[in-house]
């Protein structure tokens, strides 16, 4: 049941040829994990140049960076820069789109590497995370602060090193206070507005600090990762590689299935498992069902944040049909627990197909009515057009993903660029807009919703018969590969390396919002404070409510607290600024 990789032509050879032409002997090794996945090993000193060349000259986007403690294997640390290389814009025929992974080894006696961030800004979060989790120091970083580890975590304890700690170990906090240093913006009349410690509109608590001049946001900074769950460590330590699919589900409460498929495909690729065609179609259907309810949730919240709460209620009422669909097809409202390595556990039966088609028809009609109502609301365009602009150049530098990127004129969707499951077997098209603003991102979600409805219908119509699960494959020690899925918020990338004991040696999972956060700062700049919640909502991080917002006046050195409800009310009503009441 395995596919011989040699049979398929390799995609992306021209990038390797270009690298060899430029860097010659610096390309130490080249290994192919799949026809469109290649890992090249380079010396540490050439790392920034190689990554920068792929990124800016060959049309690369930074998908993820994974560090790995390979000391038990070869005595070295390793770092993998994972780029989706899509051809330079000047290339007349940019047909070859491949994942090129740049790997470098780092000696344990000198755990540092030249930072790539000064050349490719998109790497900033990844390199800060590598320093936190592995204690490998990126030299030349513009930002020396912690990213993932809490401020009270002991120095010198690096959780993902193989020899440091058990996954159950909980060190005593080293200090009482939060001492994270936010960036310092000074100037006449500039006031800091911290939002947090729980971030409004986001499930994950996060501390935002807005620097405002009057009502205008001059800059923004944020501290996230308050709820880091240590899943990668847990997966490596306690679970077997086939149990990790159930943990991958739980990464996100909205797009859990996308993570699950990304993880499963990474293992399937590493082990050369061919997933049956019918299972590929079923996965596509379920991924799109997930997109339906995720986009409806975001559209509902878009209504809420412009003060159109009836619309919010209506979107959530209709969304219930998508949830029912998920419950029927997977046995759980959250599309959890249907994937196994090698396929899916449930087939789609004839009567289920009929019900899904009927529900899709109803959804299409009802959502069309609601979307037209939302767009006819007088203040929606006024509130969202030219608000929270993500300039194409900023987008190019920071590799945001999903509707956030597609709203800034890049028609980039992993489902087309690196087709997986059945996305290359059914016709559909990518939605992109060039307004660069909140409106564009919202409209993209609305249009993608209808695209998803058609995708599910076409999959159900053309689904081949046959088995849904491949069993009896062999576990290959230390094989590794990438898995990727275009989740509702953008691509989820999983890099997995198997161990030698039915476990995962290293699992680096990167959720879509991770790539969207760093560019948010640029979207907030130049807008008024009442638009902040709307802008944050437009990148669609997982939502929740938060309790309060703190306002700091740097000139008076005084902190005051504005309740979150007040902040939200101000976003909706835009009268009686809470800042004016405070001063």
């Amino acid at each position: 049941m395995t596919v011989l990789m040699e049979e398929k032509p390799r995609v992306g050879t021209k990038y390797i040829a270009a690298l060899r032409a430029r860097f010659g002997n610096s390309i130490l090794d080249e290994s192919w994990q799949a026809p469109d996945q290649v890992t090249v090993t380079v010396p540490l000193n050439s790392l920034p140049d190689v990554v920068a060349m792929l990124y800016y000259e060959q049309g690369g986007w930074l998908a993820s960076v994974a560090a790995n403690d390979e000391r038990p294997l070869n005595g070295q640390f390793a770092i993998y820069y994972i780029l989706s290389v899509e051809g330079s814009p000047d290339d007349p025929n940019p047909s070859q789109k491949a994942y090129v992974v740049v790997r470098a080894q780092i000696p344990p006696h000198q755990p540092e590497f030249p930072a790539v961030t000064p050349k490719v800004p998109a790497a900033i979060w990844y390199e800060r995370e590598v320093r936190d989790m592995f204690g490998i120091h990126p030299v030349g970083m513009p930002d020396e602060r912690r990213l993932v580890l809490p401020d009270d975590w002991p120095d010198g304890l690096y959780p993902l090193r193989k020899d440091t700690m058990d996954y159950r170990y909980r060190p005593e906090p080293t200090l009482e206070d939060e001492n994270y240093e936010f960036i310092n913006v000074e100037g006449e009349g500039i006031v800091q507005v911290p939002l947090g410690p729980l971030h409004m509109t986001s499930d994950e608590p996060g501390h935002f600090r807005l620097y405002v001049d009057g009502e205008n946001i001059v800059d923004a900074d944020y501290r996230l990762f308050y709820v880091h769950r240590g899943m990668e460590k847990l997966a490596e330590s306690r679970l077997n590689y086939d149990q990790v699919t159930f943990l991958a589900d739980r990464i996100c409460g909205i797009c859990g299935y996308a993570h699950n498929v990304a993880y499963s495909t990474s293992i399937e690729r590493a082990l050369d498992i061919e997933v049956p065609a019918r299972a590929q179609y079923i996965r596509t259907v379920l991924l799109e069902v997930e997109r339906l309810h995720s986009h409806l949730l975001n559209l509902g919240l878009a209504c809420h944040f412009v003060g159109f709460d009836t619309g919010f209620m209506q979107f959530f009422r209709v969304r219930e049909k998508a949830m029912k669909m998920a419950e029927m097809l997977t046995g759980s409202r959250k599309t959890y627990g249907v994937n196994l390595i090698g396929g899916v556990r449930r087939d789609i039966l004839k009567e289920q197909r009929t019900t899904v088609l009927q529900l899709l028809g109803e959804l299409r009609a009802e959502v069309a009515t609601l979307v037209s109502m939302l767009l006819e609301t007088p203040n929606i365009v006024q509130r969202t057009q030219n608000i929270g602009r993500l300039e194409p150049q900023v987008a190019r530098d920071f590799s945001p993903v999903g509707p956030t990127l597609r709203g800034s004129g890049f028609a980039r969707d992993i489902r087309v660029i690196h087709p997986y499951c059945a996305y290359d077997r059914v016709p559909w098209h990518v939605v992109s807009k060039d307004g660069c603003d909140v409106l564009s991102r919202t409209l993209i979600r609305a249009e993608e919703f209808f695209e998803s409805v058609s995708l599910i219908e076409r999959c159900l119509d053309t689904m081949p018969a046959g088995p849904v699960l491949t069993e009896g494959f062999k576990y290959k020690p230390y094989a590794f590969a990438l898995g990727y899925v275009e989740a509702p918020r953008g691509e989820d990338i999983h890099w997995s390396m198997l161990g030698d004991n039915q476990k995962i040696y290293r699992w680096k999972c990167r959720a879509s919002s991770y790539n969207n956060w760093p560019s948010l700062r640029y979207m907030l700049r130049g807008n008024t404070i009442s638009d902040a919640p709307l802008i944050v909502a437009s990148i669609d991080p997982c939502y929740s409510c938060t309790e309060r917002v703190t306002v700091v006046d740097v000139r008076k050195k005084k902190a005051t607290i504005v309740p979150y409800k007040e902040m939200e009310r101000y976003c909706i009503e835009r009268t009686d600024s809470p800042l004016k009441q405070q001063s």
Binding site: L239, Q243, T310, G331, S332, M373
Partner: protein, 181 residues
């Protein structure tokens, strides 16, 4: 605005009277696992498969008990236990109402007697598991003499089995002086 009003009127009430009336779940819904202690043979397959360790097995070699336990606070309703159970003792029910007033009510436990080794008398495996294997042997179509010796071995603990093997080897060696290596 008029369109919206019309839509709202057309839809009417969208909320359900739950919890005053029950809510139907879709067929195939995975809810609270139901354990049938009669069918269960305490083999522990479910505890090995369970990703969040909600299902666990504990062995008490002094008292001679094997306990199967389920902690609902950890269960993720994946249904792997149902898939791996050889006797169909675990099934996922459509029951989704899991709130309890007391945390202890989230635990479920079933104890199974362990069998004693025929030779050394130590506890080594659940009685029901041995009975299950015996029934399988019965159906396997082995010849009568093979069946008898297989049954006899079944009642030995792993350590006594090893000793048995060694003494067999020794007697082979003494008889033929030609030992398989």
């Amino acid at each position: 605005m008029l369109k919206l009003l019309k839509e709202v009127l057309k839809v009417g009430e969208a909320t359900l009277p739950y919890p005053f009336e029950p809510v139907e779940v879709m067929p195939g819904f995975r809810g609270k696992p139901h354990h049938d202690p009669e069918l269960c043979i305490a083999c522990g397959a479910c505890a090995i498969a369970c990703p969040p360790n909600a299902l666990q097995m504990a062995t008490d070699l002094d008292q001679g008990f094997q306990s199967w336990s389920l902690f609902m606070g950890r269960c993720i309703y994946c249904g792997r236990c149902e898939e791996v159970c050889p006797t169909g003792a675990i099934t996922l029910s459509p029951d989704f109402e899991l709130a309890v007033m007391n945390k202890q009510d989230l635990f479920e436990q079933a104890d199974y007697r362990l069998a004693e080794c025929r030779r050394c008398g130590k506890y080594f495996a659940p009685v029901k598991e041995i009975e299950y294997v015996e029934a399988l042997l019965q159906k396997s179509g082995l010849a009568d003499d093979e069946l008898t010796s297989a049954r006899a071995l079944l009642k030995l603990c792993p350590e006594c089995k090893r000793k048995n093997d060694v003494s067999k080897m020794v007697s082979l060696y003494q008889e033929k002086k030609d030992v398989p290596r």
